[in-house]
């Protein structure tokens, strides 16, 4: 679809930090484009995330938010453009290589290992974090791996699932599954955490708890994260910066206050209902 | 013999051998493509087709098996080949319906591996049932001499360029071409086919349009089965008939599907022809002598089949005419 309604100028006016000036941004995309057949899911996206920053991406359904996340995690190959993490281009890497470099992702729908226990779920993530993407340790008893264990316990403690450590993951209530899912993502102690709708499907209380959890890790780990969320309450409360996508393009970008007042955003996403 | 006539013979042989694989592969492929069901029991349908054809067309005397022990050694209707050619597909079609309803349907939502395992198990059960009932002896499936007592179908036939060629094998090529053509038209040019093709991509949406997709599914399974049955009838006289024929033909049939690309009829045809031609060519190639070393190709005929398949799959994992898998 090649309509030319409302693109271009707005995006160009938003400031794009120049790279390599002293402290390098943690994540940078340049002209990132992904096409599916004829459909342009992300269209020439330049996104910059600084260390320690909390960025939210919002936009209507199909705007390309998940696609953007998937491109960064290397689940999808970009049609065009470059992605740099800590200054290194990650295009062409395998997903696990990107994870090993410090990019972790929490999935849109709870993606866990259903038949394993909660502890084992966390342990797998801890293992990948401590031992790298592959090892020849098939004869080492895993209980000997003290470091992995500590990390597992810490992770479970952090997401408050220590008491359910022996439960099979699939038997957890929905909210706890999401919690575990976030735990798995956190176990790697990533530099950058990508979260795609972490509170989807949660009740208000669970949502609250998750937001608190995110706040907590944010404080403790000084984590950089990119959040995709439709719940504006969360978005506006925890982001430093908000990026608005529409039909694959960045149509606005700024602090929560700036975004709240931006008419384009109103139009494209918030629905044009006057506030 | 001229090189031209030799090449023509190889081509014709390849076509004919490929034809049997095509019949099997078309069924396997539409079932796999449409219903996402992996049928390791497809060979069993071929087996059933062969035996059914034998018993309808001829009068057979069993020399082993339980039926013989129970006193039913003389078997068969002896209605002739045309009857078999008409009745067997109907019969195997019905079996296909039963299979879809009672075997495949409960497994649509289970992992592929379970589908493979359960159909593999069923294939063994069918084979053993046949072994027990009809004995494991190979039974001769004599070629029909005439159809309707007037049309000669056996014996050699003088062809231009090629010279003598078994008449029945030409019939096999013809029958296959016609049937595959019919199925192709059915799938590509009828409402039924439209529903099936749409269901391949999004079964739920088809239902949301008010179409009961389970019936086309049944029919697709039935057609696939019937084609396997036909393969059994037309292929039977070219082979011996015994309970292991189903298992033996299964692997090349699967290979055909995978080479050609799952879910496309044209792919199954291309795959079958490649397999048939590779086989016929390797057997037909004259040996090459380099210095004192003679290389004979015919021992490689089977290896070649799998090697070609492996190469095709490595270069084009989705098969020659297969669609690329949709990204996750």
């Amino acid at each position: 679809m090649s309509s030319d309604a409302g693109d271009g100028s707005d995006r160009e006016s938003t400031p794009t930090p120049t790279p390599d000036a002293g402290s390098e941004p943690l994540l940078q995309t340049h002209g990132l484009t992904k096409e599916f057949g004829g459909l342009v899911a992300t269209d020439d996206v330049d996104l910059t995330v600084e260390r320690g920053e909390r960025v939210s991406i919002i936009g209507p359904n199909g705007a390309g938010k998940s696609t953007l996340i998937n491109l960064i995690t290397r689940r999808l190959d970009p049609t065009e453009g470059d992605i740099r993490f800590k200054g290194e281009s990650i295009v062409g890497m395998e997903p696990h290589e990107v994870v090993q470099r410090g990019v972790s992702k929490s999935f849109q729908t709870a993606s866990i290992f259903p038949d394993l226990t909660v502890r084992e779920n966390a342990e797998i993530a801890a293992l990948a974090a401590e031992q790298g993407d592959f090892g020849f340790n098939f004869f080492t008893h895993r209980n000997k791996l003290t470091d992995v264990h500590e990390r597992t316990e810490n992770t479970l403690d952090a997401v408050g699932l220590l008491n359910q450590a022996h439960t099979d993951a699939e038997d957890l209530p929905y909210g706890d599954k999401r919690r575990l899912e976030i735990g798995i993502a956190l176990a790697a102690e990533p530099d950058l955490l990508l979260m795609d709708e972490p509170t989807a499907g949660m009740s208000p209380e669970e949502t609250k708890a998750t937001v608190d959890l995110i706040e907590e890790v944010k404080e403790e780990l000084g984590l950089t994260f990119v959040l995709v969320e439709h719940d504006m309450e969360i978005v506006f409360s925890i982001s430093d910066r908000i990026v608005v996508l529409n039909r694959g393009q960045v149509i606005a970008e700024g602090t929560p206050e700036e975004i709240r007042g931006n008419p384009d955003v109103q139009e494209a996403y918030l629905g044009g209902v006057e506030l | 013999m001229s090189v031209v006539s030799q090449l023509a013979t190889i081509l014709l042989n390849g076509l004919q051998q490929g034809a049997i694989y095509v019949l099997l592969a078309v069924g396997l492929s539409i079932i796999l493509g449409t219903l996402k069901f992996v049928n390791f029991a497809h060979g069993a349908l071929y087996l059933i087709g062969t035996y059914a054809g034998l018993f309808i067309a001829l009068d057979i005397t069993l020399s082993s098996g339980k039926l013989q022990e129970w006193g039913y050694a003389d078997f068969g209707l002896g209605w002739g080949f045309l009857a078999a050619l008409v009745l067997v597909p109907l019969f195997v079609f019905a079996i296909g319906l039963l299979m879809e309803r009672f075997l495949a349907r409960p497994f649509y939502d289970r992992p592929d591996t379970d589908q493979i395992l359960v159909t593999f198990g069923l294939a063994i059960v069918v084979q053993e049932l046949f072994r027990i009932l009809f004995g494991s002896n190979s039974l001769p499936f004599n070629q029909p001499e005439y159809i309707l007592s007037v049309i000669p179908v056996s014996g050699p036939m003088q062809l231009p360029i090629v010279g003598n060629f078994p008449r029945w094998r030409l019939w096999v090529i013809g029958i296959t071409a016609v049937l595959v053509g019919i199925v192709y038209l059915l799938v590509e040019h009828t409402d039924f086919g439209l529903v099936v093709r749409a269901g391949t991509r999004d079964a739920e949406m088809v239902r949301l349009l008010g179409i009961k997709i389970s019936r086309p599914y049944l029919v697709v399974f039935g057609i696939g089965a019937a084609l396997a049955g036909v393969a059994g009838v037309v292929g039977g006289p070219l082979n011996v008939v015994n309970p292991t024929v189903g298992m033996n033909i299964l692997v090349p049939a699967f290979l055909t599907v995978v080479i050609g690309g799952v879910g496309t009829i044209a792919g199954a045809v291309v795959g079958g022809l490649i397999i048939g031609l590779v086989q016929a060519t390797l057997i037909g190639l004259p040996s090459v002598t380099i210095a004192s070393f003679t290389l004979n190709f015919s021992p490689w005929s089977q290896v070649g089949l799998y090697a070609i398949a492996a190469i095709i799959l490595l270069v084009r994992p989705q098969g020659i005419l297969g669609d690329e898998e949709v990204a996750p």
């Binding site: 395998e94 696990h96 038949d115 | 395992l117 053993e128 090697a307």
Partner: protein, 388 residues
């Protein structure tokens, strides 16, 4: 704490039921408990393996009922080794290979060819067969793992068949083609002990011959190795891949290489078993590369129970028992009576296995061993209350 749960499944979590206190002390304690359990598993295996041939083929009453015999006991262990390795792939990693005959048969041929041309030392045979299987698994795994699901199954099937046809004709000068590899005479173990000869004294009564002892050592090693692998990081990664391959990739694991390792490891087990098969039979049938042989190991593993350590061994034993003993039963009587239930019962053996197999997949995917475990735990619950 060490008196239960010796099967190796889900063991690590059962230990920490003391609570969530994490300190070096408890880790050490836990490691020791594990060690202890490992010793227990291996110990029980040793006992079972040591008693089995006697019970099966010599013990009064029991062996008469079972109708067993020595070389079948040996063969069961050999296939058991194969099945344990196969289950690492099918049960734990979730990959269904229909080409494992390539490793079993390939190793068998290499062991035989080595015996005929290089050294007939049984240990050399096992080592060379296994090394070959590992290399072959590496190559075939590399190729087949490019696709998942049914395509993986079909690719392994195709490559396995290719090997079969290779040794049927083009390589017949090496393999004997359709005749099989004949004329293998296996040397004495350590140049001393002829494998066919009886073991001295009690060992002879229990184990029978050196052949059994030789195979039994490998069987115990196989169980120990599999147990260790399952309790190593690999075991967990394998199961993670089975459960959710994509997520495993996204926690930073190189899933492809782990799958390749799973394939190679299971190929190695098949290689050991295949080499032992040659030593046991001093003959390699061409059939050992045919795809139905791959089908057999699939059936054994699934029947016995995937994703368990001993299930596949039980499955292998059961399959061979039915194939070799039940198949010879003429008339089935109602137990303890002369009432004829089925005439020619033996001829139905294959049908019977096929039916049981289908039923198992349909209703009891955890197989026989799974059934036994369920039974055991429900009995334990009945008797011991719910002491977690």
């Amino acid at each position: 704490m060490s008196d239960r749960n010796t099967t190796g499944e889900g063991s690590a979590n059962a230990t920490s039921d003391g609570g969530a206190v994490i300190s070096d002390g408890s880790l050490v304690a836990r490691w020791e408990a594990i060690r202890e359990r490992e010793v227990t598993v291996v110990g029980l295996t040793v006992i079972a393996v040591a008693l089995f041939p006697w019970l099966f083929s010599r013990a009064p009453v029991v062996s008469d009922l079972l109708l067993g015999y020595q070389s079948l006991a040996t063969l069961m262990l050999i296939w058991g080794i194969f099945a344990v390795g196969f289950d690492l792939l099918l049960g734990y990693t979730g990959l269904l290979s229909f080409g494992h005959a390539a490793f079993w048969g390939g190793a068998a041929y290499v062991a035989g060819i080595v015996a005929n041309n290089v050294s007939a030392d049984p240990i050399v045979m096992v080592v060379s067969g296994t090394v070959f299987a590992i290399l072959l698994a590496w190559v075939l795994g590399f190729l087949s793992l490019r696709r998942g699901g049914i395509y993986f199954s079909i690719l392994t099937l195709a490559f396995g068949q290719m090997l079969y046809y290779m040794s049927a004709a083009p390589l017949a000068f090496l393999t004997g083609g359709e005749n099989g590899l004949t004329g293998i005479s296996v040397g004495a173990l350590f140049g001393q002990f002829h494998l066919e000869s009886e073991l001295p004294s009690v060992a002879g009564t229990l184990l029978g011959n050196w052949m059994y002892l030789f195979v039994a050592v490998f069987a115990v090693l196989a169980v120990a190795a599999a147990y260790r692998i399952l309790n190593s990081p690999y075991g967990m990664v394998f199961r993670a891949i089975r459960e959710n391959e994509q997520r495993a990739e996204f926690v930073g694991l190189n899933v492809w290489r782990y799958k390749l390792m799973a394939f190679i490891i299971s190929g190695a087990f098949a290689g050991v078993a295949g080499s032992l098969f040659t030593i046991h039979g001093s003959y390699v049938p061409l059939q050992s590369l045919y795809w139905t042989e791959s089908g057999e190991i699939v059936i054994m593993t699934v029947l016995g129970g995937t994703a368990s350590l001993f299930g596949p061994i039980a499955g292998a034993g059961l399959y061979l028992y039915v194939e070799n003993i039940v198949s010879g039963v003429q008339t089935l009587y109602l137990p303890f009576t002369q009432v004829v239930l089925v005439q020619d019962f033996g001829t139905y053996w294959h049908l019977l296995l096929g039916l049981v197999f289908v039923v198992v997949i349909w209703v009891a995917p955890s197989g026989i061993w799974g059934g036994v475990s369920d039974l055991r735990s429900s009995v334990r619950n009945l008797v011991g209350g719910d002491r977690r």
